[in-house]
Symmetry: C2
Subunit: 133 residues, 2 copies
């Protein structure tokens, strides 16, 4: 398993429109795209920063993961996504090393990526996502 | 103010030695350096990932910022650091835009960088650091 870069940092927000004022108006970054991911019950704004991205995440459903996260601990950094060349293979390696997974197999992420989340109980409470572009 | 990349992601841990098992043994990343930053009351491990780094932060003092963070909400992602060419100039721009700052002027970070933290009350609870390499 080879990790090549930080693909993105996911940030949970109650309102993408409000959050964008910080990232664009104040910090001067640009939005690359906006996308709704029904499977994840989120609306996202993708903001490139060097080779990485900031991914703002707004829940589209009060029962969604992001809504629950904000309800529990407020807005803030939600996860870190690491890019790998092959998510399926990486999950095999991690399982072999005894890591707990949220996703046993890759699923579809934004921008046609394949993604999988590791369980934070094995990563000292850091929610890690693997991304294959 | 031009943000060029994510300089690093800071992760608060109770034990760098324990956390490194995840990042090196499991994920296959390599430690570039370890450093104590007395001004910040932390011991750090720097782990390069592409053009960015993961910075593990272990408190050297029960009264330090990282110790307080962990006491309040447990281990996890602590901050996101964005690289700029001139921290001093960036702070001037941000102040002009009404942003609250933790550091009114740049101070010394790891690896001889100049850094400054913005106040999370202005960034929807994301602790943002600016770094000039």
């Amino acid at each position: 398993m080879k990790i090549t870069k930080i693909n993105h940092i996911g940030i949970a927000v109650t309102s993408i429109d409000e959050a964008l004022k910080i990232y664009t108006d104040v910090l001067g970054l640009k939005v690359q795209s906006m996308e709704v991911v029904p499977e994840q019950k989120v609306r996202t704004a993708i903001i490139p920063v060097g080779e990485s991205k900031i991914e703002l995440l707004e829940s589209t459903d009060p029962e969604g993961t992001i809504a629950k996260f904000i309800e529990k601990q407020g807005e803030g950094i939600h996860h870190m996504a690491l890019e790998v060349d092959d998510v399926q293979a990486a999950l095999g390696v991690l399982t072999g090393k005894g890591m707990a997974l949220i996703d046993q197999k890759p699923r579809k992420g934004v921008e046609n990526t394949q993604i999988a989340f590791l369980h934070p109980k094995g990563t000292r409470r850091v929610l890690l996502e693997l991304v294959e572009s």
